[in-house]
Amino acid sequence: MDGHFVPPDVIEVEGLVKVYGRKGGTRALNGVSFSVPKGDIFGFLGPNGAGKTTTIRILSTVLAPTGGTVRIAGHDVHEDPMAVKERIGVMPDEVSFYPTLTGLAHLQYYASFHGIPRAAAKRRAIDLLGQVGIGDVARKKVKTYSHGMKKRLALAQSLLHDPELLIMDEPASGLDPQGMRYFRDLIRFLNGKGKTVFLSSHLLSEVEQLCEHVGIIDRGRIVAADSIANLSSKMSAGAPIILRVTAEGITDEAIASVTSISGVTGATRTANGLDVTVQSGTDVGPDVSKALVLAGARLKELKTSERSLEDLFFALTKGGRV
């Protein structure tokens, strides 16, 4: 990166705290800090109840934080909410609309906040509805829409004013695989056009496929924030490796002789064999098989299992440590 242009951060969050209700209420956020560079697709990952929606509502100027600061494109959400509102497109977690208005009427209503002239707003609305694939139901009341159609309408409204930052709360929730794929492609497309995307999810797989950077939140705290690549290599660097051994006739002597091999830190019996924990950077596979065979075990298979990001996510969000 040295000497290269470093894009400014579009989102800068520092020490964010949110306590719902009066003092002593739910502490939904407890000192959250992270930043999102311009042009990024940032994944905000965490289990249910971690504080993702709370963070997003603060970012979108809906909710006032109890403490901490949030800046979007350099504007403080508290001091200059109007500047922030004009630069963000928000897709909330629940896609809910006025049941008796049409999709088109929704977009026209929302456009009127952005000072888009009526005729232009209508053209843009019809255009967008076509782009997100619900042009044919543009003049139907929203109460007749399927969940997928509402998701698409939610996306369309977030794009009305061509915002530089898209904030999406669980965009994939409730979608079928085709719908998920459609949204993934669209998010990549929008990102390609220069929009920064901040999306939350409780599914690692989704984030892994889309995002360059992730922040992992658990119980109101950020437990990891880095690029996917860095997180993965951190995993492979320091983390122990497990050898899955499938064998019969493993005696206690066999286990003892395996644990005595240098680089092996532990061995536990499993249903069809043995799990051997090995320090990373050592290659003890042949030594382990040799020791087992010498001790009289009938060896069938020996597999290295690397820890995945999934393991990391679970470890982090269940109070475990790397």
Partner: protein, 462 residues
């Protein structure tokens, strides 16, 4: 055109609110309920009061004896409204009253000038009945004395609004039963000539007067007497009184219900259906958004309420034959809007706080109950406990305490606007000054709106 930053969002939210509310089912229901009460009430009470109130006959038969060229008796009737305008086409029936039973002599229609004549030979008592629509009036013509050179009929009534019976209608015909030039004198002062149909009207002074009719140098004088107006009754039944019942009775109850029903979930509904976050993330200030909610719902309620009120006034005018005092009617229209403006900010506050539709409905109902039932009842109980011996003090107490109640402020303002004559008839007549009550109204409205803004700012998203 860009709104100032602190008001941004007012116009979009206002229009949206107006549009969505006007098309809602509950709006339709409330319009029907309001129309039934206000227009139905105007019709029902208006009819009842016009039947019981003082009334004047809608048509008058001026009858004269006359003598034909060959000496035969002619019965003459001139048919007019109470103000001397002829009613051509009125049905006129003649009856011989000198036989038993009376014998019909014939029926004709009044001519273009309102006259009907029948030669009756030498019969001496003729009954005449005139009819237009379903109004009927009758009189008799008698030839028991020689017919003079001209004959005079008079009728003393209260034809204008002073309710003093000092309007004297005079009708003069020559001996042949046709109009003649006649001069009218009042207490030896010439006043005017009769018109081409023989009619003239004089306004009499109080007390006794002499009215002289002069035809071709010959005079007839009638002594008349005008009494003082009757001491005015406790109240006068009429369109103003009916309007007072509509304004201080019906509207006080039903308009707040209308406002509550339309606005109780103006904000909680957005929260419950999940559209609130999307709204709050738009480039709109909280103040602008709330004012938009206020103006949109206000307009959506004010428009149908004003139309129904106008319909009520129209129906009242139609059934009582006379409209209410213009300034009172205008004040009623305006104060109805004020009543709506009182209740909406209150609903917006509770709607901001309500987390579910159930609580919102409960809050809405309680607000109505509090100010329309509980508050007056508690005030009444307190006043009778505090001032057991003085009616006057109780009344004053309830009016002062009432300044904390929007419905009571409204009622007091209505009685200020009512015409003097009926002001005291409906528990009205303020012991407070208009300035005091109007200031209370202003404080109430501005205070509640400010509180609504504050609440919305702090609690909308929580």
């Amino acid at each position: 055109m860009k709104a100032p930053a602190f008001l941004r969002g007012l116009v979009p939210v206002g229009w949206h609110e107006f549009y969505v509310n006007l098309r809602s089912v509950r709006m339709l229901i409330m319009i029907i309920v309001l129309a039934l009460i206000m227009v139905g009430g105007a019709y029902g009470i208006g009819r009842g009061s016009s039947a019981g109130g003082p009334s004047i006959a809608p048509l008058v038969a001026w009858v004269h004896p006359a003598i034909g060229t060959s000496g035969e008796h002619i019965a003459v009737a001139w048919v007019s409204d109470p103000f001397g305008v002829p009613l051509p086409g009125a049905t006129v029936s003649f009856t011989d009253l000198s036989v038993q039973p009376p014998a019909p002599l014939g029926t004709t229609s009044a001519d273009a000038d309102g006259f009907a004549r029948l030669a009756v030979g030498n019969r001496s008592s003729i009954g005449i009945t005139v009819r237009t629509g379903n109004a009927e009036s009758g009189s008799g013509v008698f030839f028991d004395r020689p017919v003079e050179n001209f004959t005079v009929e008079t009728r003393q009534e209260a034809l204008d609004t002073d309710s003093v019976p000092n309007d004297l209608g005079v009708h003069v015909l020559g001996r042949a039963g046709v109009p003649v030039a006649a001069r009218l004198w009042l207490n030896d002062t010439y006043v005017k000539d009769v018109d081409s149909r023989g009619y003239g009207r004089l306004e009499l002074p109080l007390g006794p007067s002499n009215v002289t009719i002069e035809v071709a140098g010959e005079n007839q004088t009638r002594a008349v007497f005008t009494s003082k107006p009757l001491p005015s009754p406790f109240f006068t039944i009429g369109p103003d009184f009916v309007l007072l019942i509509m304004a201080a009775g019906f509207a006080t109850f039903v308009i707040p219900i209308f406002a509550v029903v339309v606005t109780f979930d103006a904000i909680s509904k957005e929260r419950v259906q999940g559209t609130l976050d999307l709204l709050l993330s738009r480039p709109a200030s909280r103040v602008g958004t709330l004012l938009g909610k206020f103006l949109g719902t206000f307009a959506a309620v004010a428009l149908p309420v004003t139309l129904v009120n106008l319909a009520g006034i129209a129906v009242l005018t139609a059934v009582s034959g006379k409209g209410p005092t213009g300034s009172f009617a205008l004040a009623f229209l305006g104060l109805s809007l004020l009543l709506i403006a009182f209740y909406i900010p209150l609903q917006l506050i509770f709607s901001t706080l309500a987390k579910t539709s159930g609580t919102a409905i409960l809050f809405g109902f309680l607000v109505w109950l509090a100010f329309n039932i509980l508050y007056p009842v508690i005030t009444f109980v307190l006043s009778s406990v505090l001032f057991p011996n003085s009616f006057q003090a109780q009344f004053q107490f309830s009016q002062v305490v009432g300044l904390g109640n929007p419905s009571s402020i409204y009622t007091q303002l209505v009685t200020f606007a009512a015409p003097e004559a009926i002001r005291f008839s409906f528990g009205g007549g303020s012991t407070l000054s208009l300035t005091a009550v109007a200031s209370a109204a202003l404080v109430w409205f501005v205070g509640m709106l400010a509180l609504a803004m504050w609440t919305f700012q702090r609690k909308a998203a929580e």
